[in-house]
Symmetry: C2
Subunit: 249 residues, 2 copies
DNA sequence: GGGGATTTGTCCGTATGTATC
DNA sequence: CGATACATACGGACAAATCCC
């Protein structure tokens, strides 16, 4: 396949002298990255070089780069250069956070939808890892839960440890997208919670116990039990969130 | 809570005369939408008005708007105005498509990860809807499958009908995020397949039969059967995709 | 259908801040 | 420290698209 044709069917020649439409320059820069096989972290041409090679002004190049930056497809370092980005799920987090916050009257519904997706995902995922988890991985989860319990006894919340647990749970899948998606949903939930001024977990000991329950089921290779424990965990999250919502109202 | 402080802790006064960093203007425009309770489709201030109210040049405003446009948070209509966008999952589709295409050597892995997430989601979702689907909804699914079978007998592929089926399957959940997420993954998969030049479904009759199997299980309220049928469906998709990949190699 | 007003799209030139060497 | 390369920002100008009268 000839370069320059995967993202856009229109060839370069047809654009000579004609004004580009929509996000044309954006797509051309993406195509440039693909054609040159640039990896995340690799340097892009400078703005001046892009101006010349694309035949557009600096402003147009910058607007396209800013759009690609918002998608985490490129990373711009002030005074240094532009580089290929990680194409992370940051735009998903930004979009979902904004959409949830925009539902000022009832964001409970939007948050509930995100929570339901997380629950469906984790319930299905834990079934898949329950049979393949090694003893070493179980021990790693054990260590994380011990830290949870310590924090819980001290009456402190542990959002980061919670996140770490769910991430460590699914490493054995070898699926890079899964932890990124879960982290994205987790971030949206906690960012919204932060903006809304919700208080920390009021009963960290209970939360730690729910995680312990999941690990116990996994050690026993009891898939059904693990799924139920995960579902209970989400019931707890829902209860906390909805209680806070009512409290604010 | 006072306006202008939910997305950014720094107050306006601290910015007077000081240069903004990173996506500051972007966040200020988002905050403006939130503060004014602007709904999707509502008109934003013009670029000139934003220049004045934010105290920055037109170029800076435009770069911020272009970034928000990439996130589908605003929609820009040439010669008309700027409007609040739908905050759809378009950026997720763009990002995942780019990331998959960037893995030139083996995109099988990246595509497989997306497929696995879709499978986990749909397997868990079908369990939830299996008990609540009404007869009317089952009849609607029936009608969709009939169209599939007609296309299949004619030897034609039916990607759009396939998508329609999976969307109709989960409307009873009342979760708006679910069909959007599934559609996003579906779009990434088929856009990559299109760029890679993969041929259409070689055996549409078989694909139609797998969908029929899902509906049969749902009519019988047989949750386990429905889950198995859905899993089989995905085995079929994987087989097709991997076969194509090997064929290209 | 025509014309004027409004708004976004593109471009140029210049000055400034920033990071690397 | 200076020199260089680069991104950031500003102001002005004109073109293109859309809407309204």
């Amino acid at each position: 396949m000839s370069p320059g044709s995967t993202l856009c069917a229109m060839s370069e020649e047809h654009l000579v002298g004609r004004r580009r439409v929509g996000g044309q320059i954006r797509r051309e820069i993406m195509q440039l990255i693909l054609d040159r096989r640039l990896r995340p972290g690799a340097a892009l041409p400078t703005e001046s070089e892009l101006m010349e090679s694309l035949g557009v002004s600096r402003n147009s190049v910058r607007e396209a780069l800013k759009a690609l930056q918002a998608l985490d497809i490129v990373e711009i370092r002030h005074g240094y250069g532009t580089y290929v980005g990680q194409a992370s799920l940051t735009p998903l987090v930004d979009g979902l956070t904004f959409r949830t916050l925009a539902q000022v009257d009832d964001d409970t519904h939007a948050l509930g939808e995100i929570l339901q997706v997380r629950e469906v995902l984790e319930e299905g995922l834990i079934r898949r890892v329950a049979e393949t988890l090694t003893d070493a991985e179980l021990d790693r989860l054990e260590a994380i839960i011990v830290r949870m319990e310590e924090k819980g006894r001290a009456g402190q919340a542990f959002p980061e440890i919670d996140r770490e647990f769910h991430e460590a749970l699914y490493v054995s899948l070898g699926n890079e997208l899964v932890p990124q998606l879960l982290a994205a949903f987790w971030n949206v939930f906690h960012r919204v919670a932060g903006v809304r001024g919700w208080t920390r977990d009021p009963a960290p000991v209970v939360t730690a116990r729910r995680h312990r329950e999941i690990l116990t089921a996994l050690r026993a290779r009891d898939v059904a039990h693990a799924q139920r424990a995960m579902a209970d965990h989400f019931r707890g999250i829902e209860a906390r969130a909805w209680q806070e919502t009512l409290g604010v109202k």
